[in-house]
């Protein structure tokens, strides 16, 4: 029973990060109808920026800020300089370009920083706090929960309560009508990419210290898990991404706890396959028929 409780908390903590990363995927999907396969590599690039800043200044928090700002800028540049010029009539073109971006980013990061794992520190202790002798959560886990919660609530408020959020949603749903109403649709798309990339960078900052460390490929497996979470959630639904992320985190935690961590990567793929077979639209797919 103790083991189950521990695995549950551990799974939720992993799941929170997956939720954030899945949310980033959903943001871009909603804005541009692209599954951003380059998101892992973009997030790692932001995490390397944080590494440089932290190494130079000795401050974790300056590095953390650099990762968020770096994430925004990377998203902005990727949309303005690359994605804007991709032929949007064929989905395959966007996927290939995104995969190309992954190769370029990982190669460049490898050249600049080397292909070895670099240590990534945490601002809080990762030693689990115990309740009645049962190890539950570490201070770092609480920090992860808090950060992800802040992002989820912040994005929800941005999209539903602010004029910019209304512009972004309208641009995604009806670009031509939005232009006629004076909305800068291209700008909203860039903003969507920048925001998503910053959220992805945050997820990378949170998860990398809990894994092997910083490496150009550090987010590869996280990407697969988060993509699964986003698909489970329906790809179109931010709440779906959050629930999907937590669910995938739990499943992975139970699988690695009871069956062994070797099976984990396999479990993610099996889960993705199962969801695609049973409910290809995702568990949270909206059934609203568009009739304009």
């Amino acid at each position: 029973m103790d083991r189950f409780v521990f695995l549950t908390f551990d799974g939720l903590s992993k799941g929170a990060v997956l939720a954030a990363f899945a949310l980033a995927l959903v943001l871009i999907w909603r804005a541009a109808r692209i599954v951003n396969f380059a998101q892992g590599a973009m997030a790692v690039a932001a995490a390397y920026a944080a590494y440089s800043v932290t190494s130079a200044t000795g401050s974790y928090w300056l590095g953390f800020g650099a990762a968020l700002v770096g994430g925004l800028l990377i998203g902005l540049v990727v949309e303005r300089a690359v994605m804007r010029f991709v032929d949007h009539t064929s989905p395959l073109a966007e996927v290939i370009v995104a995969l190309g971006l992954v190769l370029v980013l990982q190669a460049v990061l490898g050249m600049v920083y080397g292909n070895e794992f670099l240590p990534a520190g945490t601002p809080f202790s990762r030693t689990a706090l115990t309740a009645g002798g049962v190890p539950l959560l570490s201070r770092y886990d609480l920090f992860v929960f808090g950060a992800v919660l802040l992002v989820v609530v912040g994005l929800a408020l941005l999209f539903t309560r602010t004029p910019v959020g209304l512009r972004m949603r309208a641009s995604a749903f009806a670009p031509e009508v939005s232009r006629l109403l004076g909305v800068n649709v291209g700008g909203m798309l860039t903003l969507g990419w920048a925001l998503a990339s910053a959220v992805g960078a945050l997820a990378a900052m949170l998860v990398i210290p809990t894994e092997l460390g910083l490496h150009p490929h550090a987010m590869d497996l996280v990407f697969v898990s988060a993509f699964t979470a986003a698909v489970v959630g329906g790809l179109d639904s931010p709440p779906g991404a959050v629930v999907g992320g937590l669910a995938v985190g739990l499943i992975l935690s139970y699988v690695s706890g009871y069956l062994g961590s070797d099976v984990t990567p396999m479990a993610v793929l099996v889960l993705l396959l199962a969801v695609l077979l049973v409910r290809p639209g995702g568990l949270f797919s909206s059934t609203v028929a568009r009739q304009v």
Partner: protein, 254 residues
């Protein structure tokens, strides 16, 4: 913005002499073959001009070219005394032109309130935007009752009201209206036409009304332009087209 409001509120008699829209030699299309060839058109401020014609005559493309969604290959569009060439689509609403596209363009996923607010987001003055929104709710009481409903939950008539109301939130000087009667019951069509007449008389709004429903359009229009195969074949007063059977036969087939 103040200047725009004053113009829109100017009494009709004073404005009738002003030409608000002048189109000359306009040629446009989507591929090699032009959909519009050499269109000449003049619309006076404070009037309703109906653009009539069969399917494929180029009526919708005319509106899309006027609002910049389609770039013309030749010709000139002068709106409010200023040429519109190279003005981005997003800027036109600030200049006082509103385009309600065919199929109405209500954003189905957004609520009635969000759709309407979208029409006023370009304004810097928040209080002014709120005022314009309140005016539209007053004009369309059914929309006020359904503020929180999503666009896809509305009936056809309510959607048309929403699309029209959203355009009016911008307090335009010129309203481009593409087939507002499409798929609506006669009673609802009459309501909408009556509203256009009222807006013209009360606020001096200019309307360029594209319609397949000739009778409804002629019931409110001051001027009529008949298009066929991408050309203007006749431009006359709506009264004349309504009363002159021969003319109607020749151009509209009834």
């Amino acid at each position: 913005m103040t200047a725009d409001t004053t113009t829109a509120a100017a009494p009709r008699a004073g404005a009738t002499a002003d030409v608000i829209l002048r189109v000359s030699g306009l040629t446009a299309g989507y591929g090699a073959a032009p959909v519009l060839s050499d269109i000449d058109l003049t619309v006076r401020a404070g009037t309703i001009a109906a653009v009539l014609g069969a399917n494929g005559a180029g009526k919708t493309t005319l509106l899309r070219t006027l609002s910049g969604l389609v770039r013309p290959s030749a010709g000139e569009i002068v709106f409010g005394g200023q040429p519109l060439r190279d003005v981005p689509v997003e800027q036109l609403v600030r200049r006082g032109m509103a385009h309600v596209p065919e199929g109405r363009g209500v954003v189905a996923e957004l609520t009635v309130d969000e759709n309407l607010r979208l029409g006023g987001l370009w304004r810097r003055d928040r209080a002014d935007a709120a005022q314009a929104l309140a005016e539209v709710y007053e004009l369309f009481p059914p929309l006020a009752q359904r503020r929180r409903h999503a666009g896809h939950q509305l009936s056809g008539g309510e959607r048309q009201m929403l699309a029209l109301g959203r355009a009016l939130v911008a307090r335009p000087r010129l309203l481009l209206l593409d087939e507002p009667s499409l798929g609506l019951a006669p009673r609802v069509i009459a309501q909408i036409m009556g509203l256009l007449r009222e807006l013209r008389d009360r606020t001096g709004l200019t309307v360029l009304l594209v319609e397949q429903n000739v009778r409804s359009a002629l019931s409110v229009a001051d001027e009529a332009v008949v298009m066929s195969l991408g050309r203007v074949v006749t431009a006359t007063s709506a009264d004349r087209l309504r009363d002159d059977e021969e003319l109607r036969h020749a151009y509209l087939g009834f």
